[in-house]
């Protein structure tokens, strides 16, 4: 294992681990505060119980998210000092603002978690809303920094190149590079969709054992309510993304579609194996004009293929294309499930056994799609850290033996993941039984609605 590969593996693992907790940190406080809000409005005890239990889960997941996020902030420099030396002054602004959002999140989560009964009801609920809002704000700013790596803007390079540092820095231009909207929206929606499906899957599982449990019904309604709306919005956001990427990151678009030759009326390829040597994607299901339509909303638009760009600027087409297929495939299934749920809700029916089973099966889909989508954007930017400006190989630290920290942190992450799953399962196993909640607890108010 070369040091470059070890650095990429360590940073990739750290982010793949952290991103789950970060997404939960965005969405879970919203579920928790919605449950509390419902309790305060209707007096439904089931919702109070739900808010308290979700808060416990949030506490565990947020703590791991906070410390794993600290690892990322240090590893940016520990593994990529050349990148941070160059990029720090340009994209420090969103990171600085994210610092304050993180402060707000940590302060008000402390008040929320430990403040039951110690602060007034209004302050408690408000603290919950602040946590939910600042979690989303954090994700917003951090994503902006990633957008800049994909579409660098707001600086000039002198004759000395990257080594001499950037000139003419405008931090606010750098903060909002062309196409920032699509990525920020897509990331935020993915947090709610992934967390919503994961939480809904757990409660659907419990409902399959005990169909009339009002606690799990209320939980499913909130978690899948949010998750389903997000899953239905995500294809729209994805379409917006495809159109912005087509103009701002054409190489990435070509790679993720497995599109080698520049052509008008380009087909959309579903599945298939891109072959960089033969410069074609084999075994794909081709939909004529599909890509031109999706990327430019015009069946005859020209879509540049990978061949239009120098070979040393191509990412690993196979990995990017496959990760993209996984993301779109899972996202489509999620949108279908969300639509089915929406139809049932409109007709006022509770989800049946089959839909509950499907929700259990689809429980990890959101997070798998989120990870796949993140891989698309990161692998799709290779071989660059800052696209077209700074190569990954030139960003890495001169420190050697990076396989040692890689293995060490792998062990640490596996350990943390196992413990988190065990602790969450402990909380879920303790969730209230229908009998314990008393006849008709919470349901009376809900049936009327």
């Amino acid at each position: 294992m070369t040091d470059l590969l070890a650095a990429r593996a360590l940073f990739g693992t750290s982010l793949a681990f952290h991103i789950v907790f970060a997404a939960v940190g965005v969405a879970m406080p919203l579920f928790m505060v919605l449950a509390e809000w419902r309790w305060r409005r209707t007096g439904s005890e089931v919702h109070l119980e739900l808010a308290r239990r979700w808060a416990k889960g949030t506490a565990i997941l947020f703590a791991v998210g906070a410390v794993s996020g600290t690892v990322i902030s240090f590893e940016l420099g520990l593994l990529w000092p050349r990148f941070m030396q160059f990029a720090g002054p340009i994209i420090g602004m969103p990171f600085s603002l994210e610092g304050f959002a993180f402060f707000a999140e940590a302060i008000f989560l402390g008040i929320y978690l430990y403040g039951w009964g110690r602060v007034g009801p209004r302050l408690h609920l408000a603290a919950g809303w602040v946590v939910a809002a600042s979690g989303a704000t954090s994700a917003f700013f951090v994503t902006l920094a990633n957008v800049w790596m994909n579409v660098p803007a707001g600086f000039e390079l002198g004759a000395g190149g990257v080594a001499a540092g950037a000139a003419g820095i405008d931090p606010f231009v750098a903060m909002f590079p062309p196409g920032w909207q699509h990525q920020v929206i897509h990331v935020l929606i993915s947090c709610y969709a992934a967390t919503g499906f994961a939480v809904a899957g757990i409660h659907a599982f419990m409902l399959l054992r005990e169909r009339d449990n009002p606690f799990h019904r209320a939980a499913l309604r909130i978690a899948f309510g949010v998750g389903a709306v997000a899953a239905l919005l995500q294809p729209v956001s994805g379409d917006f993304s495809a159109r912005q990427i087509a103009t701002t990151q054409p190489v990435k678009l070509a790679a993720l579609e497995g599109h080698f030759r520049t052509e008008r009326g380009a087909p959309l390829r579903i599945g298939g194996i891109p072959d960089e040597e033969r410069r074609e994607t084999r075994f794909a299901l081709e939909i004529p004009y599909g890509l031109s339509l999706l990327a430019f909303h015009d069946p005859h638009a020209e879509v540049r293929g990978l061949e239009a760009f120098p070979r040393d600027r191509w990412p690993n087409t196979l990995l990017v294309h496959l990760a993209f297929q996984v993301m779109v495939g899972l996202g489509s299934i999620m949108a279908l499930l969300a639509a089915t749920w929406a139809v049932l809700r409109v007709r006022g029916r509770e989800p049946g056994r089959w839909l509950l089973r499907a929700l259990v099966a689809a429980s990890p889909f959101g997070f798998l799609a989120l990870e796949a989508g993140w891989l698309v954007t990161e692998w799709g930017r290779q071989p660059f850290t800052v696209w077209g400006v700074l190569r990954t190989a030139d960003s890495v630290t001169p420190v050697t033996h990076l396989a040692v920290p890689f293995i060490g942190f792998m062990v640490l992450y596996v350990f943390l993941a196992v413990v988190v799953v065990a602790l969450l399962w402990r909380q879920i196993a303790k969730s209230p039984r229908a009998v314990a909640l008393g006849p008709g607890a919470g349901t009376a108010a809900e049936v009327r609605r």
């Binding site: 720090g88 602004m93 304050f100 940590a106 008040i111 430990y114 403040g115």
Partner: protein, 338 residues
């Protein structure tokens, strides 16, 4: 006063707050490890109650320091991360295990065995983190990182002076933590932490003396700052006065006064480190001026910090007001709090 000086000042202020808040959380973890006597369980319960709601917020000061370093002083940040790769990685492991184990202990089974296991991870990593943090600070001040910053000497930090500063940092954090816990405890438990604060204060004195002696050979700039600059004597007198006040107040059981004096003492120590290192960020290669990002970056960041502070400090006050009682920062020891 250039923007770089102002930003250096903000970083130093954040370091003071991190030592006083985040440092005290680590110190509380050290007391969890050293809990003993007839009230062992009660000591641990108080520590858990004291840091539970606030440790995550206190931890963000460190993130702020990192972000400000790479935004405003990028070459210094790159040099630090390369030269101190090993202790920074160890610090990260300490930070991750401390936070995770503390939370796991709160939400895992209440049986003694399970709790003791997480408690050991939590308190053990609460010792590792301040040690490595002190080593990092000591190595930065020593001026021996030239080759290390080129990736050539990954263990340059493993010298007597940085290690002594590591021990000093651990003692200092344990000292402030005991001073805070003495205020928050009642009755016999207060007596436990009052005595622990005195013991830790002695450890602070010994490790400080050791570090100062070693700085004569290994960190000439710090040594000069300690002895020869114009402000050296007044700073020493002020720090010494704070230390004596803290000791006297602890001896007489005036815990609020002792807490305030300990806070002043720690603040002066961190400021003294900053002042003796000024204008260097990494001795001797990077100064505030030479490592500066362009003005176009530094000035907007200062405005962002000012705007953020307006939101941050009231929120922080609220947090401490809710969890640390009616007078969270009181200095005077009234007989009967209103």
């Amino acid at each position: 006063m250039t923007p770089a000086d102002l930003l250096g000042g903000v970083i130093l202020a954040a370091a003071v707050l991190y030592a006083l808040l985040g440092g005290a959380d680590f110190g509380a973890g050290i007391w969890d490890l050293l809990a003993g006597g007839p009230r062992k369980k009660e000591q641990r319960a108080l520590i858990e109650e004291a840091i539970g709601p606030i440790w995550e917020a206190n931890h963000v000061w460190l993130i702020l320091i990192v972000v400000l370093l790479f935004t405003a002083f990028p070459p210094a940040f790159a040099a630090i991360t390369i030269a101190l790769f090993v202790p920074l990685m160890l610090l990260l492991v300490g930070i991750v295990l401390r936070g995770a184990a503390f939370t796991f202990r709160t939400y895992d089974a209440p049986e003694d065995r399970v709790q003791a296991r997480w408690g050991l991870v939590f308190s053990g990593s609460s010792v590792v983190a301040p040690l490595t943090l002190g080593v990092i600070v000591g190595a930065l001040a020593s001026g021996n990182l030239g080759a290390a910053a080129r990736g050539e000497a990954p263990f340059a930090w493993a010298a007597p002076f940085p290690l002594a500063v590591g021990a000093f940092a651990a003692a200092l954090f344990a000292y402030v933590a005991a001073a805070y816990l003495a205020v928050e405890a009642g009755g016999a438990l207060r007596e436990d932490f009052r005595r622990r604060a005195i013991g830790a204060g002695v450890a602070v004195f010994l490790t400080a003396a050791l570090s100062a002696a070693l700085s004569w050979r290994e960190a000439p700039l710090v040594f000069a700052g300690l002895t020869r600059r114009g402000w050296s004597i007044p700073l020493h007198l002020a720090t010494g006065a704070a230390a004596i006040t803290a000791f006297a107040a602890l001896y007489r059981g005036q815990v609020r006064l002792a807490r305030a004096a300990a806070v002043a003492q720690v603040t002066l120590i961190v400021l003294g480190w900053g002042a003796s290192q000024y204008p260097y960020l990494v001795v001797p290669d990077h100064t505030l001026a030479s490592a500066s990002a362009p003005r176009a970056t530094q000035v907007p960041v200062l405005w962002a910090l000012a705007a953020g502070a307006v939101l941050l400090f009231p929120a922080l006050y609220l947090l401490f007001r809710v969890f640390k009682g009616e007078r969270p920062f009181a200095i005077l020891d009234r007989d009967r709090p209103r």
